[in-house]
Amino acid sequence: MTEFAAQATPAADGTITVTASGELDMTTAPELINVLRKAIHRHGPSRVDLDLTGVTFMDSTGLQVLVAANTDVGGELRITGTSPTVHRLLQLTGVLEEFGLPSARSGGIAT
């Protein structure tokens, strides 16, 4: 099993980079919520860049965390990297563009 971990790093330009790794599901989603909320509350960033390259699994619980965090920062949450598994879920649910990723031709399922 891959442990989940997330770390927030503020940048000089007022943005925050959050790097996550491991498996993001209903049992680990609270950890990402904590990291994102603390970082947003403490730094009030103009944008959050989220690197999910190291996230080897994500379900809709994880997706709900991303949607909520995006709302918290006024739609300025950008996903800067994804694993194939994460990309597939974002594609299936039709939220690639919402997080600043190029949309896939096949589109997503209705939400």
């Binding site: 099993m1 498996e23 599901d25 209903m26 049992t27 699994f57 379900d59 809709s60 619980t61 997706l63 709900q64 194939p84 598994t85 597939r88 879920l89 299936l92 649910t93 399922i109 209705a110 939400t111």
Partner: protein, 122 residues
């Protein structure tokens, strides 16, 4: 080969990752392609999440995964109560069920005493 795994909810609520990993190991052993394994992992998780979203205190569910050479079947059963009421709740709209429907080859609800039966061909 015929593999059957059963977990009880809500007692095993934090075991979804265990189910996912054991199932993935079995599928890898069968030589199932990574894409199909990824889809099945998501199906298991989203089916589980859908049950959790509708679970009521004191109501027990079982989630059962069965694998043979041709298919992986995820079944949700409810041993104690009439299926209809819970089945209706499980088919309510939600992200989880939409993901399951988009990935699975067949999703059958409330038939033969099962609340949900999700089939993914291998």
């Amino acid at each position: 080969m015929d593999l059957r795994l059963t977990v009880d909810l809500p007692r095993d609520v934090d075991r979804v990752n265990t189910l996912r990993h054991v199932l993935d190991g079995a599928l890898a052993g069968l030589g199932v392609a990574e894409q199909a394994r990824t889809d099945i992992a998501l199906i298991v998780n989203e089916t589980w999440a859908n049950v959790i979203a509708h679970v009521r205190i004191g109501v027990a569910f079982q989630v059962r995964a069965t694998v043979d050479e041709t298919r992986c079947v995820i079944e949700v059963t409810h041993p104690d109560e009439p299926a209809t009421e819970i089945g209706n709740a499980l088919t309510a709209s939600g992200h989880s069920l939409r993901v399951v429907r988009s990935l699975a080859d067949d999703v059958d609800v409330d038939s033969d005493g099962l609340l949900m039966k999700v089939t993914k061909l291998l």
